[in-house]
Symmetry: C2
């Protein structure tokens, strides 16, 4: 089983109960559960127009997450990707409709249309005022007689919800909802399919490809396109939406289809804001998971042109956690960097031999990126190579700015550069090392002794001792052997690094969390990097 569930039959039932238990009393379910899966506001008094939406589950937070004052009155839930029954919809209508009547907001799928439609008919026979709107915002298939209802549905919930909350009549609420439907357009893209509980996952979208124009039920997208960058993806989507842009105010809704990380969604928001394809989008809802497709690694954009009144309804506050609000897109605000932080730069000076030496060392780290990452993946998060290569790239790029002719200042400058460009513990520790070596040299200490002083400071701050499976296990022996030349130092570093593969009880750093058999036989990546550095230095000094 690839999901945290007890059985696929009980998934939605147990999820709804879990949600109710953690709703703080805001929500209730109707009796008749689990055949009838209707979640209602617990504070509802039937004095206003009721809003009912729903459909298959698997689109969370839609629809239960939007039940609350200012949005939905009730959500009628089916099983995963399956419409609820007529009885369930009818129960929902009967439970929440008062004299003001109710509006059914239905996405354009045959099952939902049939079940909600027949329930509406049966409810009208009871004398209840029922209106129904069908959302069909998907523009992926321009010629389809049956455009799907996707994330644009949220605009309908919010605008109709705000009107109903304000006490508008059913006629006005339904008319406004239909107007949103007439104007809203959505399109989706995904890098991977969703995992339907209880079914094997379809490996449909190859690496480097994306599906464009896909729905929210795992069905294939209309087109398989090459995926390059977030920027291209966003621009392709906006190009499709361009004909649906309005003349004055346009609101974009940026929806996470489920499995996209917040980092990626924020990058997409940045690309949306910066795009020149559509430069008339002033307001944004999201990025957030709103109408998802289980764990689908994709996103959708919906665009709604609105009047000032429509915008006000979208911005009306609601006490619904899953509603991200509708905010004006703006440039990032910047606060000044505090005084005294800007470091004093050393004065650049030239020394071709030193420049060459430093450049070659930097090259070595760039070349070893993949290998060191792989080694680190055994014991940590696999970023040692990337961290070192990134710092090496930055150092090499700034080589002309270094005080190459002044060894003392050079150590300090490298320390400063590393402290600014290198994250992680290795970044600080190397910065401390280089700064301390510079300090020692400035006090007149000879070269090798100064390097050892740097190592001592690293041990003091970092807390690691020889034998703890860290870079110290290579650096210590190398410095001890350095008086005998680079070749001897390289040999000692290599021996020290290789010995770390036998140390399976790491006592410092991230490796200390890892089980012994994962560590055995793999060198510590930091020690390995030191060994590689000394090996490189011995070849440079020999050439």
């Amino acid at each position: 089983m690839a999901q945290f569930m007890n059985s696929k039959e009980a998934l939605v039932i147990e999820a709804l109960d879990g949600l109710l238990r953690s709703s703080g009393g805001r929500l209730a379910r109707l009796d008749g559960f689990p055949h009838i899966k209707v979640i209602v506001r617990n504070d509802w008094e039937k004095s206003k127009v009721a809003l009912i939406s729903g459909g298959g589950s698997g689109h969370e937070p839609a629809h239960v997450g939007f039940v609350g004052a200012g949005m939905l009155t009730a959500a009628v839930c089916g099983d995963v990707f399956a419409s609820p029954s007529v009885d369930a919809v009818l129960a929902g209508i009967l439970a929440v409709s008062g004299p003001a009547g109710c509006l059914l907001i239905v996405k354009n799928y045959t099952g939902d249309r049939l079940n909600f439609g027949l329930a509406a008919e049966r409810a009208r026979a009871y004398g209840i005022k029922v209106s129904m709107v069908i959302v069909d915002d998907d523009i992926a298939l321009p010629d389809s007689p049956q455009a799907r209802g996707v994330a644009g549905t949220l605009f309908v919930h919010k605008i109709a919800g705000a009107l109903a909350e304000n006490g508008a009549s059913l006629e006005i609420v339904a008319k406004a909802a239909q107007q949103v439907i007439d104007n809203v357009a959505s399109v989706g893209m995904s890098l991977d399919t969703c995992t339907v509980p209880g079914s094997p996952k379809e490996a449909r979208i190859a690496e480097g490809k994306a599906e464009l124009g896909l729905g929210i039920h795992g069905e294939s997208g209309v087109e398989l396109i090459d995926f390059t960058t977030a920027r291209d993806a966003m621009n392709i989507m906006l190009e499709r939406l361009k004909p649906n842009i309005g003349r004055s105010i346009n609101v974009a809704l940026l929806n996470n289809l489920g499995g996209t990380t917040p980092l990626e969604m924020s990058v997409l928001a940045e690309e949306l804001a910066k795009s020149e394809v559509i430069d008339d989008i002033q307001y944004l809802i999201g990025p957030a998971p709103l109408m998802t497709s289980l764990d689908m690694r994709g996103f959708s954009i919906s665009i709604l042109p609105v009047s000032a009144q429509g915008l006000a309804l979208l911005q009306a506050p609601v006490a619904i956690r899953d509603w991200p609000g509708c905010i004006q897109i703006e440039a990032p605000r910047i606060r000044p960097i505090p005084d005294g932080l800007t470091p004093i730069k050393s004065i650049p000076s030239k020394d071709p031999a030193t420049a060459n030496f430093v450049a070659h060392c930097c090259d070595m780290f760039m070349e070893a990126e993949t290998e060191l990452n792989a080694l680190d993946a055994q014991s940590g998060d696999g970023d040692t190579g990337a961290t070192l290569a990134g710092a090496a790239r930055a150092l090499k790029a700034s080589i002309d700015q270094l005080p190459l002719a002044d060894t003392t200042q050079l150590y300090r400058a490298i320390g400063l550069e590393l402290s600014q460009t290198m994250g992680g513990s290795s970044g600080v520790l190397l910065a401390i090392f280089f700064s301390a070596v510079g300090d020692a040299l400035s006090s007149g200490m000879p070269n090798v002794e100064a390097l050892k002083a740097g190592l001592a400071r690293v041990q003091e701050v970092g807390g690691a001792k020889p034998g703890d499976r860290t870079m110290i296990d290579a650096l210590g022996p190398a410095l001890d052997a350095l008086p005998n030349g680079f070749t001897a130092a390289a040999r000692a570093a290599r021996q020290g690094a290789d010995m770390t593969a036998q140390i399976v009880k790491a006592k410092a750093g991230r490796a200390s969390y890892i089980s012994e058999d994962r560590l055995r036989g793999h060198n510590d990546p930091g020690a390995e990097a030191v060994a590689k550095l000394f090996e490189k230095m011995s070849t440079i000094s020999a050439s």
Copy 2:
């Protein structure tokens, strides 16, 4: 590239800018970006104790998502899973600390400890009052000298944040933070590893297995265990946390590690609430993504025993969207089902031959579940088999309650049963079919004519015509051939079903969204189900 990004180097930088653009002016970043990635409250006036947290990115909404009144004043962000630099932390401290000083809330990782620690030292040299606490809530490795900081950090943010917001002194805020750290315990579990941007995904956890006791940086869990159900998973986790439970009030924080769907998280909340392993948890934060590990399909639980004052601080309102609140766990509230909905049950009667016939037909649908699902996956969401098998199971289970001796009532009863147990469009349409056949029979129409009347009503409501690639393409020919017996009907149904494989322009149902080459060569699952039913009926009637 498996992520929506432009490059792994720009990922965090662009994500932060995207987040700022969509923050509605609540947040700003410090100058010095992107080397210095510090996000601060834009309304901060340094009149109270400042709270600074941060660390590597990839844990969203932590930490930027919790910047705001009542929680953090600033978040210092590193690259994905990499600590920010000393300079970045120092910039954050200098930017937000006033006379009341600041508290650094740091998770116990070497890099964060070093960078935040050295920055604190440097800030103190500027005369700033700085305290620092190290969160080490992970209990996965009981003997580790270096327990990791994970989702329990949120308790520290919230309690220290509420105190600082109330105007408490740095000493009091730091002491309360340390007290939370002394008492909080967390443990995590995952079904899959996370995808580190720019690195290939490690396929580490086999199907049917879960890692228990894992951190938030993709490192392996302490134990690989068998995964069976959400219930077992929850009880295993709670068993580990049992020694950390307090005597009076206990608050659980249920954290989505990133890739778990809301449905699954709600099931886990339900299991947490129902578990007998710990029956003293009265309050819940979540379920929600709070401290994630990119897209990791896992969750963690943190437990904090609190005093009444601690609970009040956890419940103090904040205007931070990503904070789910701290609510009292309660039983699901239930509202009565409205009058008039409970359907009138028909009077059961016996007829062994009919019972046998119905039971065999039900068996057929149960056996065909996988095959029909696979067929439906070609054109839809792969649930036709499951939907039909579910209804068949329910129908077979209620066979003794059916009016088996009264054909007219039997059709109506089956229609009613299907309308209650079967979701999706097929559920309604079959319910309509059986009800309409019952109505026709009751008006004295002969059998085959009544069945045709049922089909006509289905076409009328559903809107599908022959040749539209629906079950009608098998049912129509079968009913036409039925006067010649079941064998002839079965043959006609089979021919009609097989013909649907050639219909590549579906005009109704979900198949109408699918491209032609995905449909070609595959029978419509509804038509195939009808063909199978008639084939089964011909063997029953022949036996």
